[in-house]
Symmetry: C2
Subunit: 706 residues, 2 copies
């Protein structure tokens, strides 16, 4: 894990040199200086430009060597070809952090990539950290530091606040910053990482996780360039109680095409990334507006322990719309206790006090009803959050006086819950509610989605950390590709059961094997030379007696002798014939970003047509495996739908967990594992891999190492 | 279909009496007068109140009888108990339209419902139309008519425009109006229908469809009280080229519970309602924000014929986010033609000109790039809409001059396409783009969703009206419940094929039947007294020869004689045993709102666990049936996935269409039909119902009639 101290200098410098400083406030070398002057940056700004004595009223220095002090940070706004010597001069001078606005590196092709690598080597030599190249830079609102040339500042400066943004894309990061500002939200920092030659979004997230100024972390990623660092950063943020809202683009075929052409690195599989980021506590989103809504709610730092919503409404219709959205996103809206309903009904006979709690337009004449219904939702309903649909009613100044008087004591009495309004009106009026600690949304459905995210976070925090990861021991893999029997043997060593089977050399051994398993059994020829055993009659199913075993043994050997006279026959395989279970599929694939990923699904159409699978990075324990198994849409089939007996989900979970541990221990040579089908027998009767294929990569070990 | 002339008087009156007029501008009888005075209503306002000579500066009349003229409309703001005499007085006076603000009718229970029915009878007697009771009323922005007591006007008056709103819920309708206003959108009318004792949202929609002032119709419904009128209104709006955006609440279990308790009528099945409303051209939504976004886009009245999107962006990241959203909602983003890509690449070497078309931040220095990329998207790309992601860059006044200069000629050159911006900034700056005919959104994903809806509408308009509905002829149903054979015979009369089968009385007849069908066959006992035929061995499958038919015949009769000695045996059924097809399910259920609805799905888990079905109101033709069949998620199985031969979808579509025609002709006694399974054979080999159950309702005909 990289040292953050120099990143601190990059994001919160006490002095900054601007190499290529300009008097023109619309140029890359002029914008940062103008912004810092406007914002009253408390540190020293040190312009460097050989052609000027002063820049924007500040003393200007001819070169890095002429600087009167070693700056904490440098902003480099010179053409690409001048960047190496600039880095060198800064390094000699002892500067430890540089932001490289300059473009023309890895994003332009192989030559630029080589130049970029050389830059990093040069910087490392001097112990200097680099942001960029091809970055829009950084701003740090609290100290007025604007190491950025973003024109987003032309339409207004950010408001100070506790929402931090880390983005690979400069323009998109600045869009998020401007969106926050236009929605009245306060930001701490914006960090855009560009080509990520050195500093990545992972570093930026970790810096924010450790910084006092940031409580909510928004991040936009196109490619994950250092997965272990990113996951460690997410873990650090989670440990610090700071939500991470992640927008990972490149989900669609079109999007992935654009991402690959846009950045210098490949976009990983979005589905895997979603699963892994969520697993590390990130809230994965797909649109900036939802990100800002959740960031707004999270910025208040109230994360109730219960994932449940009460809706108090002056409009029955709005209550229904909000309820529909809650059901759609899976946010529970339990009914009020009957005794509490009776109390509310007594106070307002026409009320519908179940949940939504409809206090009708009567609450406008009598705001004590609003207080009563909301209080009852918090106290008797016990909801993690109560959303009050007040629409334009809350938007007039006169009503806001009355409403605030009713709600302020409630806000104080339930500090660990959320009270949110859906309200329309002038920003100044709505701001009064926000100032009183009440969340304000314009749209009931956006409110429901944001509250759902916050309540899920709160419930996860209340549950505490998940189960510890299982211990991984290195797995010795064979040199060459394992055949089915070897694959099953390898997996058996990891505790993964196949159907009982035995290779035999005689008819009597076959009978003994069959009797030890119990009938019926399956028998097939064992020969490395015979691929299509069924086609030549060398596979027999459903063999039900000792006599039939003897007959099958003879027939199989005879079929092999007749149809494949030259083949080496090493014996006959006798296996217990299993039936009555549910066919599942388990597998491992190596994700280029996250390493081995386990997948679980039901056999057949569920996987092939509906893509109904659960994914997880390896390793994980049986509790997690159980969650995965139950998370697929078709899980009801395993639980006993359609008259089937419930399947042995415990055994499946053990097998899936052991498979994940095996994959984690097998290292980078393991390309994939397919257990297809796995037969999940009825409860208590186990789960068995009926086939196993392990694919190894002998040659490209280095390419897969991380 | 009801006469709209009196509704016209209700929504656009030249004179309005206010019964229960008040000087207090916060009271129900005071608010409408204050609002009309503020808005400069051009008609006459006639306050009625026995206790006052003047109200809010206007002459006030002691009673309806004292009015100096017959008003076009009356607003009734008196307590429920005084409403009947008020209606009577207005009726005597010749007033033809009254808005009943008063509550205390059907929403309060059986007594109120009876009072409400009596009101309607009294009004009908006088030829008077009623809005409400329990309505928030109507406003008509263009003429300054405010027949409403909504406090939404306290936070500002609506802007004039061409978006009309019809809502059952008063507060929610007013919320939509306030939302439109706060988002800078212009409205024509707001009509809230309350208890819908007489006038329904269907009437309101039809009025808007015929009114020149409205081009886009937004509607909010909790219950559909007059389905044929609603569908006719939707058809009228579609014929007039006016999009209807429908928010039908009560989707969720919680929502439906709230809807039932909130209104005086039951909420129909939301899934059926969605399907039927969509089928009649409505855009069905679930949140008010999306409704307003689409209404905004539709208000410009440009509906391109091609459902395709081009994205021009100054930020690669934003282009990807927009692409991901487009893929999610199913909006195609075809790649640019290669020749056009080459031209763009020549103009800007680092551009990524596929689609999204990334013109990079370089477009800020050279706005001609923005023009070039957008023009190329419209011309060579041929996209129905081009969305330009310009974010804060477009938000400064200086840049807006430059951008408008570049884009205005384009706007003029492609009047049948949409140009939309995603931009952040002050409303005044963004308004300049809107004034130039460019749609402006803050969020790229909201923009994509709104454009998708508009482009779908445009493509549907370009396709023209769908196929004509098939002719329905009345079906004669039996008195009692039909058994399987009778059900199959009834359906056979409608052209719906079962597997070939014949009842026989001898072994030789059985052989003849089997030989006429071809082997194998199925045989089973025919007896009204034996229910569980398989259990006693009276069903034989897979009978492959004449000899086996004779044996089976004897065994079946013997099994029946042994195990059910007293049963009446009417013969033996011989049926062709079909195999090799795909098991499907077809059925009819009677929706309480929309009558017979056809459902199609694949057999088994697809329906039971995944609810993967297509729905449609009956009747419909085979083209529509084909669309339904291909719309299910598992349609690939019918098209030949997993190594199966493609199924006979034409035969399935014919069967489904014929079933819909049968159901439409069967009338209200038909409760349901289940054809489960229907076996879809390989292409060219037909589809056959293997079982058929028809449920009739003899007793409750009246209850099901509509």
């Amino acid at each position: 894990m990289s040292d953050l101290s120099h990143i601190d200098g990059l994001i919160a410098p006490r002095s900054v040199a601007v190499i290529g400083a300009s008097d023109d406030v619309t140029r890359i070398g002029g914008r940062p200086i103008a912004a810092m002057l406007r914002a009253g940056f408390a540190g020293r700004i040190l312009p460097v430009n050989p052609k000027r004595d002063r820049v924007q009223g500040l003393p200007c220095y001819a070169s890095v060597d002429d600087l009167p002090e070693t700056p904490d940070a440098a902003l480099i706004a010179v053409p690409a070809k001048l960047v190496p010597e600039t880095i060198e001069a800064l390094g000699r001078r002892g500067c430890k952090a540089a932001t490289l606005f300059s473009a023309g590196f890895a994003e332009t092709g192989a030559e630029g990539e080589a130049a970029q690598r050389a830059l990093v080597a040069r910087a490392r030599h001097h112990g200097m950290r680099l942001l960029g190249p091809n970055t829009l830079g950084v701003y740090n609102v609290g100290i007025g530091y604007y190491g950025t040339f973003s024109s987003s500042l032309d339409t207004g400066m950010p408001r100070p606040g506790n929402i931090g943004i880390a983005s690979q894309s400069g323009a998109f990061g600045a869009h998020l910053g401007a969106l926050a500002r236009d929605q009245g939200l306060g930001c701490s920092v914006l960090i855009t990482t560009g080509n990520e030659a050195d500093i990545t979004v992972a570093d930026a997230i970790r810096w924010m996780a450790e910084s006092d100024s940031t409580d909510v972390i928004c991040t936009y990623m196109e490619a994950i360039n250092d997965a272990p660092a990113l996951l460690a950063a997410l873990d650090a943020a989670r440990a610090a109680g700071k939500p991470v809202l992640a927008l990972k683009s490149g989900r669609s075929a079109v999007g992935a095409r654009a991402a690959a052409s846009h950045t210098a690195s490949l976009t990983g599989d979005a589905v895997v990334a979603d699963a892994v980021l969520s697993d590390h506590g990130a809230i994965v989103l797909r649109d900036p507006e939802t990100m800002m809504d959740i960031a707004y709610a999270a910025s208040k730092k109230v994360f109730p322990a219960r994932h449940s919503l009460g809706v108090v409404t002056v409009s029955g219709g709005a209550g229904i719309v909000a309820s529909d959205e809650a059901e759609r996103v899976g946010l529970p809206m339990p009914a009020m206790p009957e005794a509490a309903q009776a109390v509310l009904k007594a106070a307002l006979p026409y009320a519908s006090p179940v949940n939504p709690l409809d206090c009708t337009a009567q609450a406008l004449n009598d705001p004590s009803l609003l207080d009563l219904f909301t209080r009852s939702g918090l106290e008797e309903g016990g909801y993690g959050a109560v959303l009050c649909f007040l629409t334009y009613v809350a938007g007039s100044r006169a009503m806001s006086d009355v409403i605030l008087e009713a709600m302020a004591p409630l806000r104080a009495a339930y500090p660990d819950r959320i009270i949110a309004f859906c309200a329309l009106g002038e920003r100044e009026v709505l701001q009064r509610y926000d100032d009183a600690g009440i969340l304000v949304f314009n749209d009931p459905c956006r409110a429901v989605r944001a509250l759902d995210a916050i309540l899920r976070l709160g419930a996860a925090q209340a549950r505490g950390p998940g189960p510890a990861l299982p211990e991984v021991v290195p797995v010795a893999l064979p040199e060459g590709p394992p055949d089915e029997a070897q694959a099953k043997a390898l997996l058996a060593g990891a505790g993964i059961a196949a159907a009982p089977e035995r290779a035999v050399q005689s008819a009597e051994d076959a009978v003994a094997a069959a009797e030890s398993f119990g009938f019926p059994v399956v028998m097939k020829i064992l020969s490395p030379d015979i691929l299509h055993k069924s086609d030549i009659g060398a596979v027999k199913l459903n063999i039900g007696s000792a006599e039939a075993v003897r007959a099958a043994h003879a027939e199989i050997l005879s079929a092999a002798a007749t149809h494949a006279p030259g083949a080496v026959v090493t014996g006959v395989l006798v296996a217990k014939q299993l039936s009555g279970g549910v066919e599942c599929l388990m597998g491992i694939s190596r994700d280029p970003t996250f390493g081995p990923v386990a997948v679980f699904g039901l056999g057949g159409i569920f996987v092939e047509l509906l893509n109904d699978v659960a994914l997880r990075a390896c390793p994980f324990g049986p509790e997690t495996a159980r969650e995965m198994i139950l998370s697929i849409r078709a899980a009801a089939i395993l639980q006993g739908a359609r008259g089937q007996p419930p399947a042995d989900i415990d055994a499946l979970a053990q097998m899936l967990s052991r498979l994940s541990v095996f994959a984690a221990g097998a290292g980078a040579r393991l390309v994939s594992i397919d257990l297809n089908p796995v037969l999940a027998m009825p409860e208590g009767q186990g789960a068995f891999a009926l086939d196993a294929v392990i694919e190894l990569d002998g040659q490209e070990e280095a390419a897969h190492g991380h």
